[in-house]
């Protein structure tokens, strides 16, 4: 595999991992900080 292709594959894997972490972390983080529902203020 050419080095550029390998680099793109690694970046895609990294982004995919980051996407999972974001998907797992974001909702608990929001609920912990502001609770459920629309709570502006």
């Amino acid at each position: 595999m050419p080095p550029m292709h390998r680099g793109i594959v690694f970046v895609a894997l990294f982004f995919m991992l980051a996407l999972f972490i974001e998907a797992v972390v974001i909702l608990p983080l929001i609920v912990m900080r502001w609770g459920w529902g629309y709570t502006v203020g």
Partner: protein
């Protein structure tokens, strides 16, 4: 010899619906797990549950490789899967803000919470306009474009790309450029309303870029799409 005779002498391949991958039972099974993993990954909120399915798909493809029955390069699988998950996440995720789901408690938690973290447009006057969801109209226009046009095209393109279809490769190129145009419009739109967006969030500019840089997939895959051996995508 006339042109008609030329046509008659062309070898006609039998009609194929799914390419080489579908003719191989092991790869077919692996692709089934891959698709389930991608669908779950695309839900964003349930993304973590996709990991076991993607892992099983990986193991099956490794087995196929050991047996010499791997029908496509790993790079195509990884890049296609990433682009498909990315498009699905945006399609489903943004779709929840565009359509009626923005009235549910889950989405009235997730979107204004996201707004308070990184992008103020998602909590300021949320659900206050006729169409609901975020109240920034230029962002709403981009939502219509993304959710109704670009992301569905991208999802179809990425799956056909994984299936090694020629039109899949072509559609990936087309949708990547659509994505580039979309990104320029999105970022310009974002910074034009800076005070009400990143300026009104907890994490500001740095937080927004950390959260959203993940979705810059077109810039990553375009060089690959232009340098990959096109003859591989022959179906």
């Amino acid at each position: 010899m006339t042109r008609v005779d030329d046509v008659r002498n062309v070898e006609v391949r039998p009609e194929s619906t799914g390419g080489a991958a579908e003719e191989n039972p092991l790869m077919k099974r692996a692709d089934r797990f891959l698709l389930i993993g991608i669908v779950l990954g695309g839900t964003w909120a349930f993304g973590v549950f996709s990991i076991p399915f993607l892992w099983i798909a990986y193991r099956l493809m490794s087995q196929a490789q050991r047996e010499g029955r791997l029908t496509r390069p790993w790079a195509v699988t990884i890049i296609g899967t990433f682009c498909l998950i990315d498009a699905s996440v945006n399609f489903i995720g943004w779709g929840t803000d565009l359509f009626m789901a923005h009235d549910t408690t889950l989405m009235r938690t997730l979107w204004p919470g996201y707004g308070k973290l990184v992008d103020g447009a998602y909590y300021i006057d949320y659900n206050s306009l006729a169409v609901g969801g975020l109240a920034n109209l230029s962002e709403k226009v981009l939502q219509f474009y993304g959710v109704l046009v670009m992301y569905p095209m991208r999802m179809a393109a990425a799956w056909a790309f994984v299936k090694m279809k020629r039109w899949g490769l072509q559609a990936m190129v087309i949708t990547s450029f659509m994505y580039v145009g979309f990104w320029v419009a999105y970022v310009a739109n974002l910074y034009l309303a800076f005070n009400a967006r990143m300026g009104a969030s907890s994490w500001g500019v740095t937080g927004w870029w950390i959260m959203v840089i993940i979705y810059a997939s077109p810039f990553v895959v375009l060089p690959y799409l232009y340098t990959v051996n096109r003859d591989l995508f022959s179906d």
